[in-house]
């Protein structure tokens, strides 16, 4: 990794974070959206039942997944204004640095969302972690990276389609199914303390490695395909 790579990456990341810090568009929209999902879910079953611990893993991740799409859709749409994306294309900056910066930015946004929403879930659904909390944190980090690395990549693809807002979930959800299965089952295993979440952590790790490599190899092609 050259110095140039790190510099471009850091510059893009700071720019995105600064933009978000000043406007707070994405975070606010995501938070409110996730809150709505939590509240609406609570009507579909009895949230106080002992059962809730078994389905909470699924609920949490479905809420985060839907909310993450809000952030991911903004990733590149923001660069269309003033033709910033075209400027990126003709600049000699490495395309992967741009991709990595965007993915890290999204990772931070979704992580903040998760940190703020988890206490709410705990309160609303009367949860108590029976397994190890540290592996839950690891699972959350791996799962979030799995979502955002693919999401950032597919957002760049869906940028070139009609009705791009709807195209992103159509591409992202089918491919993310193994990651979603791992996140949901791993979380349930840790929350209930019944099973070990080891397999799911390994699977998520493999998923992250495969798709991070794939995205890094193919992103330049996708960025220049206009």
């Amino acid at each position: 990794m050259s110095v140039d790579f790190i510099r471009v990456c850091r510059a893009t990341l700071t720019k995105d974070l600064r933009l978000e810090w000043r406007s707070r568009d994405v975070i606010n929209a995501m938070l409110f959206f996730a809150l709505l999902v939590v509240v609406i879910f609570s009507f579909s079953f009895d949230p106080t039942a002992e059962e809730s611990r078994h389905i909470a893993g699924g609920l949490i991740w479905v809420a985060f997944l839907f909310a993450a799409v809000v952030a991911l859709n903004q990733t590149w749409a923001r660069e269309l204004r003033n033709d910033v994306l075209d400027a990126y294309r003709i600049s000699p900056a490495p395309a992967n640095a741009l991709f990595l910066a965007k993915a890290i930015g999204n990772f931070l946004f979704v992580s903040i969302l998760e940190l703020l929403m988890t206490p709410l879930f705990v309160v609303f659904y009367n949860l108590r972690v029976l397994g190890s909390a540290s592996s839950l944190a690891l699972l959350a980090a791996l799962g979030t990276w799995a979502l955002v690395v693919n999401g950032t990549f597919f957002a760049a693809i869906s940028l070139r389609t009609r009705s791009r807002e709807i195209m992103l979930p159509l591409l992202l959800f089918p491919i993310s199914i193994p990651a979603i299965i791992a996140m949901v089952n791993g979380t349930t295993a840790i929350l209930t303390g019944e099973d070990s979440a080891r397999f799911w952590l390994v699977l998520l790790g493999a998923y992250d490695v495969v798709f991070t490599t794939g995205s890094m190899l193919l992103f330049e092609t996708v960025l220049h395909a206009e």
């Binding site: 070139r160 009609r162 099973d195 798709f211 206009e226």
Partner: protein, 286 residues
């Protein structure tokens, strides 16, 4: 094309007719399931054909991405040869093979993977690989739909349920979802370089499949599942009919793919000519 197509179409139809006859009248009736089991001669060949077409889509997409650069082309060739060599060596060195696989069959599969890669490389131009990827995904989705429809039709009388979230059923469904999303991208894309975007998605989809399979496999084997007619042996007469049907389905799929390929090539030629004509004086190309 014009002359060969009717002949091939009639031949394929005749073959399909014979396969139908074999499935309904030649193959023995299964003891416990009865005639319901005959759907097997449509279900399994469709599944194999669909998987083969999706694999073809993957190979064509990889080549579409690699071919333009010389280094990429070399890497692609080396990887294809490496897969063939590794499976051949592994098949005969690792003993015993998992799931009691035949070493010969494993080695043949490895060689076939490389063979398909080089066949596609030799027979298709760069534009051709893109059209091949599109066509194989389209026809593959059709055959995969046949699998997903005939499966529940058989399951209802035999298992007593239409659907179960078993590993095979679920992973086939996910496969279908991935390729439908691929076709939607091709349909909705407004980019001038849709083929590249689609090829990237196809590679992602193919990378995803092993992970899909493992995740569902672990997910489902942890929980009890409905009893499924496990391994066991198959009557040789049934196997023969199955293979005849598969061959007939393959012929049919190739015919449809070929027709679709010609159609798509023609469509793109027309579009290119129209684009050129728009730039030049009207009628300059005639």
């Amino acid at each position: 094309m014009r002359r060969a197509f009717p002949i091939l179409a009639v031949a394929t139809l005749a073959f399909l007719g014979y396969a139908f006859y074999a499935a309904w009248f030649v193959a023995p009736t299964e003891q416990t399931m009865g005639n319901v089991q005959r759907i097997f001669y449509y279900h399994v060949p469709s599944a194999w054909t669909a998987f083969l077409l999706f694999f073809l889509n993957f190979v064509a997409s990889v080549q579409y991405l690699l071919r333009p650069s010389e280094v990429g082309d070399k890497i692609g060739k080396a990887v294809a040869l490496g897969i063939a060599a590794l499976t051949c060596v592994g098949a005969f060195l690792i003993k015993p093979l998992p799931y009691e696989l035949e070493p010969g069959a494993v080695a043949t599969t490895g060689i076939m993977i490389a063979g398909i890669y080089f066949l596609v490389r030799g027979f298709f131009s760069e534009r051709g690989t893109d059209i091949l990827a599109l066509v194989s995904a389209e026809v593959g989705v059709v055959f995969c739909t046949v699998v997903l429809v005939t499966g529940p039709l058989w399951a209802r009388p035999v298992w007593g349920i239409w659907w179960t979230w078993d590993v095979r059923l679920t992973s086939t469904l996910v496969l279908w979802l991935i390729y439908v999303s691929y076709l939607m991208l091709r349909k909705l894309s407004t980019s001038g370089e849709t083929p590249k975007l689609a090829a990237a998605l196809a590679v992602f989809g193919a990378l995803d499949m092993p992970l899909v399979y493992f995740s569902i496999w672990f997910f489902r084997t942890q929980h009890p599942q409905p009893v499924i007619g496990g391994g066991g042996s198959i009557d040789p007469r049934m196997l023969r009919v199955l293979l005849i049907n598969w061959l007939a389905f393959l012929c049919f799929a190739s015919l449809v793919c070929w027709l679709r390929f010609q159609l798509e090539t023609m469509k793109r030629d027309v579009e290119e000519t129209q684009a050129l004509e728009a730039l030049l004086e009207p009628g300059a190309l005639r």
